[in-house]
Amino acid sequence: MGLEKIADRVFETEVLVIGGGLSGCVAASKAGRLGAEVIVLEKASLDRGGGAAAGMDHCATVPNENISYKDIVKGMTGEGQYPPIKNKKGLFNSNVYFSTWKDTRKHVEEMESWGVDLKWDDGEHYWIPSPRTGGRTTIRFHGQFLKPQLAAAVRAAGCKVLERTMGVDLLTKNGKVVGAVALNVRNGDFIVIKAKVVVVGTGMVQRIFNPEDGAPWTNKFMYHWNPTGAGDAHAMAYRAGAKLANMEFSSWFSRLLDDKTLMFGSLTDGDGEPTPIVNARGEVISETAFMSLETYLEQEEKGLTPMYFDVPNTSESHQRKREISTADERLASLKYIQERGFDPRKHRWELHGTKSLALTKNMAGIVTDESFKTTVDGLYGIGDAVQAGGTVLGSCNSGIIFAESAVKELPKIENSELDEAQVKLWKDRLDMHKNVEDGADPLEFETKIRMISERYAVLYRSEGKLKEGLSRLNDVRRDWMHRLSGDTPHRLMRVVDCYNLADLAEVHYRSALSREDTRASFWRKDFPEMNPEWDNQVNFAYMKDGKCVIEKGSFPEVDPKWLEEGD
């Protein structure tokens, strides 16, 4: 039959990058500069797509004389002390994190050489201290144009950019990833891309939980982080047989109710003046602006909630720094404050302590090795979607390390043919959704998944509830998935989102069911204590023959060289 007959457009490239956010742009820019032929797919636009779409105010924990990359990683992976998440040792392949963070400074300089401006008004880095180390650790920068600058770097590197084009699924041949199918969400073109190496970087998984303050019938994407990705990278990797780890862990960040961005750089690290957290009586609960879920629940038990960021009691200079920080990260947030008549010099900022926001970044994600290769040949993962690639600098580090490694591999990779049947399967599936009579809105399906997650798989999890949740999820999939209407290319994108979300919700519930334990950011009411059987044990999830497999296993021990002093 021939691919040209099935697809509207067919491309061939050496490196295919799926996701044009921070990690995808850094990866593409680096791979292009190393001479590789690169195609980047981005669902939205390169200039305003991904986690930093509206801007960014800081990159945290940059190694320097105050904090070594080893200390940063020890904190992240539970080898050291890093509030607020306790007891997370053994849930990471720490070796990957150490090698990821080792050359952070070099990578920052490299991005700057591409025209990405991480410096302050005087042309120098503006360091702010962390309450955890007491010394400078974080770079504050005016990141309103971070994405447009990165997008320009990608174009300057000679990459081919397909915007408004969503990676739908990976194509495999003999257990190896050899390309992907994609959808243009504006004109509906069905696109096939053959590639020697594919890398996925579409951010974290949020949309299986309710948005922060959207009403159920509208404002469906009012999440803190960019909600564009529905865990596309995780879902595609999972279906291709790549392992995901810790997918039962969800994030309990102390969300601000009175602002639309977290302003991490200015509130928690506080530029030398962290904002304290107080309870309803005004008693200071945390000086360092970190609060764990346990702390929130303790206060709730005592009847001392809500909890607040005590912004009014900060100095005037701090107030101004906060305002600049907001403008750098999300200008619209200032407007939100203004519209509500909210005065940060007078009003405390309420914290939402018990809202599960997403699957935990830097913990739940695609498993990779030190070069960001997944457990499936031909497939790499980067950024928030993978275990060691979280945060701005994790995205940057993983993008560069991936590119350096993958480009070296390219000459060794043989060309392989695509499996037309796989391409046809997605073509037929999408065609079916275009023509559903009396179809359902994919947003309604998505909302239903969130309702199931929130009801059965959030704070008070138990075997019974998780099983009930799984059974309801299966019912909804069986009865509605094929009836979702993708009558416009845009809505067809939302239908593909539903496939991804349904797969990831299943992985989340099944992983949670498997872990009979309470630790780190995971709670089971029927196993309320740390279960020694789960010490150093990890849930790995992958798809095999169309079924979800959850396997208990462990990561390699930390190589003692990383724990030694020095460097």
Binding site: K43, A44, S45, D47, R48, G49, G50, A53, A54, Q144, E163, R164, V185, R186, E212, D213, G214, A215, T218, N219, K220, F221, M222, Y223, N226, P227, T228, K260, R330, L331, A332, S333, K335, Y336, E339, R340, L443, H490, M493
Partner: protein, 70 residues
């Protein structure tokens, strides 16, 4: 009843540059080729990130937070 939309385009200022349409992360806008202006079609999907407001060269776009987030 005319209901409040997350973004409001002032059509008297719009010059049809398509920046909002080209840059919106959530693909909220469609383009009305007939009169060469953006339409807020998928308004339920607005993330309130403000990218369109920031990028509009003529300041013709206003982001308005919804009742639900008061």
């Amino acid at each position: 009843m005319s209901t409040r939309m997350p973004v409001k385009v002032d059509y008297s200022k719009c010059n049809g540059c398509r920046k909002c349409y080209n840059l919106c992360p959530m693909d909220v806008y469609t383009w009305d080729e007939g009169v060469n202006v953006p339409r807020v079609t998928y308004h339920m999907e607005c993330w309130f990130c403000g990218a369109c407001m920031m990028e509009c060269p003529l300041r013709a776009i206003d982001v308005r937070y919804p009742l639900a987030s008061w």
